[in-house]
């Protein structure tokens, strides 16, 4: 009986989808030749497809429900990565494996693969930067790409006009982006939640539009080409070598960023950010300077974006405003949320998945972005907290009073 009911529900849902997709899927008009093509077979595919998908979803939901019933043990809920990271021996083994893999990656794979990986690593750092603003401090920023653009154009322009090298501009780009972070931060201090989101979005668009329109300054939409690649004590690399060199630079930058962000998270400032995210008023009541904390979050987040911007300009040797659209901000934000807000491991995986996926989905050619959208929705629906959510710091009181507290055990995660 239950099976019959399920079948009926499935059939109704597929019928609904057939109706829903009817005009777009079935009818194809040619307004010039004035012909109508009725593609009825598509309705059939749609019905069958929906029916199957419905039962797959039901199956997974059931499985998820039963799994949740059986294991209530709290430890089990931690993802495998977190469990490994908590055990120092396993962690070292894992890090060793990753380090070796990262080091050998370009030796075994082609320059193209290395290039794609470099892009993915750039997004890791961007994600970590935005993670400070959104994940830790809880300030929703939809215009993060603006700082990325500031970094990229800083290098492009200084290189073009003054011939400054990559290493000189790297800190300048970061600092300039941080300054822009503060500039943006001041007016939006009072704003909350979604108002903040739209103002940051507007800020991002303004930066892009200025770059696009102010041709004398930025060369407008034609962009700036022939930017020098990163140098190494005056050695000029050819293409192959410089791709690999850039890759290694990026690996180092990722390690450095993870190190800094991890330390920041555990610092006084990091705790202030988390307090700010959880409850602004309570946070103020605890004596935290809200203005300063917010501004520092904005500028530190922007700093990383600026650094990656310089890397980006050096890697592609070409910048134009079209690379810094809202969609880019949305993707960086997706990385942070998909991975699990505030979680470094999460951002790492979020970036690798989101950036590498479309590259490897190229096999699907035109269905690439469609599948990308579906995956984004599915990941959120089935794991709304993100892939590797942060573990909330908990302080367990032990029964025996003489046991020393083990807080720093969890703090390392």
């Amino acid at each position: 009986m239950a099976v019959f009911k399920e079948l009926k529900k499935g059939a109704l849902i597929s019928l609904w989808f057939v109706f829903l997709t009817f005009p777009v899927m079935v009818i194809k008009v040619d307004p010039i030749a004035r012909t109508v093509a009725w593609r009825w077979e598509k309705a059939l595919y749609m019905a069958a497809g929906t029916f199957i998908v419905y039962f797959l979803v039901q199956f997974f939901m059931k499985k998820k429900a039963t799994r949740q019933e059986t294991n209530t043990d709290k430890e089990q809920h931690l993802s495998i990565i977190h469990r490994i990271l908590q055990d120092p021996i396993q962690r070292n083994i894992l890090l060793g494996v990753i380090a070796v893999a990262a080091l050998l990656f370009p030796q075994f794979l082609s320059a193209y693969q290395t290039n794609v990986m470099t892009t993915a690593l750039m997004y890791v750092v961007l994600g970590l930067g935005l993670n400070i603003v959104v994940g830790l401090a809880g300030l929703l920023d939809l215009g993060f790409v603006a700082f990325y653009a500031v970094g990229a154009y800083t290098y492009a322009l200084l290189n073009l006009h003054f011939g400054l090298g990559f290493w000189t501009v790297l800190p300048i780009g970061g600092l300039l982006a941080a300054t822009f972070g503060i500039l943006l931060g001041f007016p939006v201090l009072r704003l909350r939640g979604d108002y903040l989101a739209i103002v940051t979005l507007g800020f991002g668009e303004i930066i892009r539009l200025v770059l696009e329109n102010w041709g004398e300054f930025s060369r407008g939409p034609s962009g700036i080409s022939n930017i020098s690649r990163p140098g190494f004590f005056g050695i000029d690399f050819d293409l192959q070598a410089s791709i690999i060199y850039t890759y290694y630079l990026m690996v180092l930058l990722v390690i450095f960023t993870i190190f800094v962000v991890n330390r920041l998270q555990d610092s006084r400032l990091g705790r202030a950010w988390i307090a700010l995210r959880e409850d602004e008023i309570a946070c103020q009541a605890m004596g935290i300077d809200k203005r300063k904390t917010k501004l520092v979050a904005f500028s530190l987040g922007a700093f990383w974006a600026g650094i990656v911007g310089v890397m980006f300009a050096a890697k592609t040797t070409f910048v134009n405003p079209a690379s810094f659209t809202f969609l880019e901000s949305a993707i960086i934000l997706s990385i942070v949320v998909l991975g699990g807000m505030g979680s470094i491991v999460g951002v790492l995986f979020g970036a690798l998945i989101l950036i590498l996926m479309p590259e490897y989905l190229r096999a699907l050619s035109q269905y690439r972005m469609l599948v990308f959208g579906v995956i984004l929705v599915c990941m959120m629906v089935f794991r709304p907290q993100g892939l590797f959510p942060t573990i909330r710091r908990t302080y367990t009181f032990k029964k025996k009073p003489h046991t020393p507290c083990t807080d720093d055990q969890t703090a390392n995660s």
């Binding site: 829903l20 007016p187 979604d194 739209i198 807000m341 995956i375 959120m380 709304p384």
Partner: protein, 300 residues
């Protein structure tokens, strides 16, 4: 003087379309506190449905009036259905999830819907049939205010009045207001919150479809990407007016439309959007919750 009036009307027309889309954003936000990023896509789907239905009917030789009515109804029906289904798939499972998760789900949906139309139909621009005829009585002032401008403005006013009526006097409207004030309390007094949310999505999507139909017949072309920019602008307008407030969305949209129009007319269209966004930033600095938004004091 003529120039000023021309710019005024082109700004109002633009504002009216923004308003039709912005209402969807603001209503959904008012009820469940979510930025429905896929709303622009609903507007695009409305325009596409209208395009398909209208072209088919005109090929089969229906009279223009019948085409307008049937295409309009089809656009509203299908857009609303998409809005309803969208909520069930992408937002309902996330109702108690972390605040940003539905936002990402919405971005995913937006990408999906764009590519769905691109693949099922075409990536090319398509000519939208001329649904609004040139009225003879408008001819003397056609160089200032076109027939389509007039139809857009009149339709928008009618739709606004109807919406106000629904919100103020019908049962579902009352339920919506109650839900937006306090969802838990609304449940306690016996309101089916799920149904209210569905109704909000249906009404918001229907309005967007009307906007899509009107603007497509105004500029005479559509493609799968028209929803993105329109969606962002309408969202900006909704925030400008105070997100969650229905009169605010209309006011914000008109201000945004007029700003863009006058900025183009008297300054330069190069910086049209810069003006629009700068205005937004300025207003929010002085009124952090938008023009007509309620300034809520956070309590501890």
């Amino acid at each position: 003087m003529d120039y000023f009036i021309e710019l005024l009307f082109s700004g109002l027309t633009r504002g009216a379309i923004y308003a039709l889309i912005a209402l969807g954003y603001t209503m959904v936000y008012g009820i469940i506190g979510l930025i429905n990023f896929a709303h622009g896509e609903i507007y695009m789907i409305g325009a596409f449905t209208a395009f398909i239905v209208a072209t088919v009917l005109s090929i089969y030789g229906f009279p223009v009036l019948a085409i307008v009515i049937i295409a309009g109804i089809a656009a509203v029906v299908w857009s609303s259905s998409y809005g309803y289904t969208l909520e069930k798939i992408a937002y309902k499972p996330l109702r108690y999830a972390p605040r940003l998760s539905p936002l990402i789900s919405a971005i995913g949906m937006s990408i999906f819907l764009q590519n769905y139309i691109l693949l099922a139909q075409t990536p090319d621009f398509l000519p939208f049939p001329k649904l609004i005829p040139d009225f003879a009585f408008m001819e003397p002032i056609a160089h200032i205010v076109g027939s389509t401008d007039l139809v857009i403005l009149v339709t928008t006013v009618i739709v606004m009045v109807a919406l106000t009526f629904i919100i103020k006097f019908t049962l579902i409207g009352k339920a919506m207001r109650a839900t937006s004030q306090d969802r838990t309390m609304a449940t306690l007094v016996g309101i089916n919150v799920n149904r209210v949310i569905s109704a909000t999505f249906i009404i918001g999507s229907g309005l967007a479809a009307i906007g899509g139909l009107l603007i497509a017949s105004h500029i005479g072309q559509i493609n799968f990407y028209i929803g993105f920019l329109a969606g962002i602008k309408a969202f900006t307008a909704a925030v400008l007016g105070g997100i969650g407030s229905i009169p605010g969305a209309v006011l914000g949209s008109l201000i945004l439309g007029l700003t863009e129009s006058f900025a183009t007319g008297y300054v330069s269209s190069d910086y049209e959007d810069v003006f629009a966004f700068s205005l937004l930033v300025l207003i929010l600095i002085f009124k952090p919750s938008g023009l007509l938004g309620k300034a809520t004091n956070q309590k501890v």
